[in-house]
């Protein structure tokens, strides 16, 4: 069960953050405020260019806000990274797939980095790595080279890599892009197991309603500014249409498929927006 001591502890606090990229006229995000409690699973939904990646960048310390401040468990982002509080699974991994490393070694890398140079990789650390690979169902291909893994397998390995050092926050960037429906459901189940076993706080960023509905307690809609909705019931057609500036059919009951151009399919929520 979640090891989040004190249910009201704030995991991530984003306070009045505005980010202006050099050369851009409009800020990428404006006056963004966000509070994620420890143990909470927040989904951030938004269109491309809505500032989702900027938000993650700000929490990861890679993007400096022009205004406002960010705290991760009370620390500024750089310090939080140094303390190993944050795990991140990128949307498009920047890694070199031709590297001669096995899946297990990829996970090991993230753990061994905090060891002093003269210390060797101990048995405890090794069993921790194996345990994490087990949690994401990757034991079967743990000794395959990264280059030979499928996209989905690689992603699981990267999730294992993100959680192996024992972070308290896990950031998932578009985790199910290009994954089919059954794959998305299995993904949601895996995240569930992971989060409850490790007691993680999770922020998932995506433009896919279904993924977020299945993996989040609360969904924030981000299009430069934020609106909150309870997932999945608050995500009505109107809310989504406004967010994506496009007519959207949202079918959220248990993650059943939604086709943007197939109106009339069962299960559309037509309730009023529950913006808070």
């Amino acid at each position: 069960m979640p090891a989040s001591s004190g249910s009201s502890e704030v995991a991530i606090e984003v306070d009045g953050v505005t980010v202006r990229y050099p050369g851009a006229v409009e800020p990428a995000v404006r006056s963004l405020s966000l509070r994620v409690n420890a143990g909470e699973r927040l989904g951030v939904l938004g269109p491309n260019g809505g500032g989702k990646s900027t938000l993650l960048g700000v929490i990861l310390g890679g993007v400096r806000p022009s205004e406002g401040r960010v705290r991760v468990f009370g620390h500024e982002p750089g310090r939080a990274l140094a303390l190993g509080l944050v795990g991140h699974v990128p949307q498009r991994p920047s890694l070199e797939r031709g590297f001669p490393l096995t899946a297990r070694q990829v996970v090991r890398q993230a753990v061994s980095i905090s060891l002093p140079a003269w210390r060797s990789f101990g048995r405890d650390a090794a069993s921790r790595v194996d345990e994490m690979l087990g949690l994401v169902d990757s034991t079967a291909y743990a000794d395959e080279l990264v280059g030979s893994l499928s996209g989905g397998q690689l992603q699981r390995v990267l999730i294992a890599r993100a959680v192996a050092p024992g972070p308290r926050v896990l950031l998932l960037d578009e985790p199910t892009t290009g994954v089919d429906v059954s794959g998305q459901r299995r993904f949601a189940e895996m995240i569930d197991t992971l989060v409850s076993t490790l007691g993680l706080t999770v922020v998932t960023v995506s433009h896919e309603v279904r993924t977020l509905a299945a993996t989040s307690d609360r969904v924030a809609c981000l299009s430069r500014t934020l609106h909150y909705h309870d997932a999945p019931h608050g995500l009505t057609r109107e809310v989504l249409a406004e967010l994506f500036q496009h007519d959207v059919e949202a079918v959220l009951d248990g993650g059943v498929t939604a086709h943007p151009h197939a109106p009339g399919e069962a299960g559309v929520h037509e309730r009023g927006g529950a913006a808070s």
């Binding site: 990861l60 190993g84 990128p90 991994p93 001669p100 993230a110 061994s112 980095i113």
Partner: protein, 305 residues
Amino acid sequence: MRTIDYLFNPVYDGDYWPPVIATLLVALLAGPLSVLVVLKRLAFIGQGVSHSAFGGVGLAMLAAATGVGFFGASEGGRLLSPLAASIVVPGFALLSALAISRLSRSSGLDAAIGVVLAVSMAIGVQAQSSAGRLALERGLARPPSLERTLFGHVLEVGWFDVAASAAVAIAVGAALWWWRRPLLFWAFDAEGSRVRGVRGGRMRALLLGMLAIAVVVVMQVAGVVLATAMLVLPGAAALRLGRTLGPVFLWSVVLSVLGAAAGVVIGFELDLLLGPSIVAAQAVLLAIAMAAGVARGKMARGRPR
């Protein structure tokens, strides 16, 4: 066997030992480094840095010819004292590595290397030619030929150079070992390593610095033009043979030293230039490794490249 004769016949007074030892030390150093050069695709940077070192050689010679005391002209019939060369040339190589790194941020790596390489070659050629003229006027020892700088001069290597090569090999080896985890993590996944607290800028500077220093000692053996070959071939071959990083590094060291030793022996026996002979031997090893890799890939799952 001429090799045995050269090394053990008292007639030669042990003169061939320093070149042979220096070559093996350089190969020992180039082995592990070449894995990173190949994986991080730094071959062209290496080329840029080694050609830049040529500028450093030219400047050091010019200083010697103008008679600046420290550069100690005509010691042992040389225009340039080895000590002076071993300070100026690495200094210049490091500076040019830095320049490439800086320029690449604004103009892209490709253009940065092109610019730095060309400018320092221009400086080097000009300085060497002026040094030659000056030395002649002042009755100093003649500067060595351009060819020597370009393609190596391993047979002129003395014990001082052996000591310098050993020092560099130890220093680079120690740095590689000490920073092995952040270096490899960064090389594999720069953004992923940043999230775990690895400073990419520092890793990049470290690797380029090691490369610049290594290039300078490799140059003694293989010269400016062929230095990169020794810093690429063993790593490229090792990546065909080893499946994971540990074996790859091991293979790289073995192949580097084996290729260098074979090159020296072949060079001695057939009376060839040693630098090109070593590069050729290492290239043959790469070809064999590729063939072996293909054969193994057909038997089992291959390493996708």
